[in-house]
């Protein structure tokens, strides 16, 4: 397990997944990659496949259409992995929680699949870039 802990120290590779998000969070994620915050200098970068990822960044209140896709991506991610429930919708389904198509926030869906899933909650609509960096750091400390 020590080697796994060591691998989480640096260069977190993140797979960004949008499950019925309004796109505002997705746009704010791009802000992290711009020169002002530039998280790539810490080695945090977005990758194109969940199989390469250390962390899943899940935006959006999960609806019925996205739920099987989210579970499939979670299964494909190498364990241990960190899940970031991003934005108000990711944390609690936000203002959409009483809608007929919503099957629950990210944690509810993932805990059905894996009760020991490690989730970081970053609230905000959308969260500030500083909050996102802070959230990732806290998640890494917890692992």
């Amino acid at each position: 397990m020590d080697i796994l802990k060591k691998s989480f120290k640096k260069s977190i590779w993140v797979f960004h997944l949008s499950t019925a998000a309004c796109n505002n969070c997705d746009i704010e994620v791009l802000e992290l990659l711009t020169p002002r915050y530039d998280v790539e200098r810490f080695g945090i970068k977005l990758v194109g496949s969940p199989r390469h990822a250390d962390a899943l960044l899940v935006c959006g209140s999960v609806n019925a259409h996205a739920k099987p896709r989210l579970l499939e991506v979670y299964r494909q991610t190498p364990k241990p992995c960190l899940v970031v429930a991003f934005g108000s919708c990711g944390c609690s389904s936000g203002i959409f929680r009483d809608s007929y198509s919503i099957v629950g926030p990210v944690d509810k869906v993932l805990k059905e699949e894996d009760p020991d899933v490690k989730i970081v909650y970053i609230p905000g609509c959308p969260p500030k870039p500083e909050a996102m960096i802070e959230g990732i750091i806290k998640g890494l400390e917890a692992i």
């Binding site: 609806n63 019925a64 259409h65 739920k67 099987p68 896709r69 499939e72 009483d98 809608s99 007929y100 198509s101 099957v103 629950g104």
Partner: protein, 164 residues
């Protein structure tokens, strides 16, 4: 001057559609409401669409408790008027002739009204779901007044159908 013209349009429609409609009224200038029976709705809308070159804006469905009211919104651009064809489809017989089988612009909105309110459009060429998830339980219609979110629980979803 414009007002006079619109009265003419109304009288003209009244004369031509007399036998096919229940009621015609003009609540405001530049707007005409036509009420028809569900059996005649397709005929009247097609007539307006083809004969008067009305542009089809959209159709809306509302649950009126005694039935589903479908309103076809048509814009008549030569007279700057909007014509609304209203029809009440009763709950006892939720069927109406599809206009989409002849005019493709009606197809998507008919699909949406079908999945959200449960009106059966007879003769529609492609009645798949448009907005609802494929796993959403069949026979539940989320935009009806008597629908509650607790009617659909997580067990009701059939994720086999969602294509993964």
């Amino acid at each position: 001057m414009a007002k006079k013209k619109n009265v003419k349009v109304m009288d003209d429609l009244k004369k031509k559609l007399k036998k096919k409609i229940i009621d015609i009224s003009k609540p405001r200038e530049k707007r005409i409401y036509i009420r028809v029976t569900p059996e005649r709705a397709a005929e009247v809308v097609e007539y307006l669409f083809k004969k008067y070159k009305c542009k089809f804006c959209t159709a809306t469905g509302i649950d009126m408790r005694e039935g589903i009211e479908i309103i076809y919104h048509l814009a008549r651009e030569d007279k700057n008027m909007v014509i609304n064809v209203k029809t009440l489809v009763p709950y006892s017989n939720l069927e109406i002739e599809s206009i989409g089988k002849k005019i493709p612009a009606f197809r998507w909105i008919e699909r949406e009204i079908n999945e959200m309110l449960g009106v059966d459009f007879k003769g529609h060429p492609d009645m798949r779901r448009l907005l609802l998830a494929d796993s959403f339980p069949k026979g539940k219609f989320p935009l009806r007044k008597d629908f509650k979110n607790s009617d659909v629980t997580d067990e009701d979803y059939d994720y086999e159908r969602s294509g993964i």
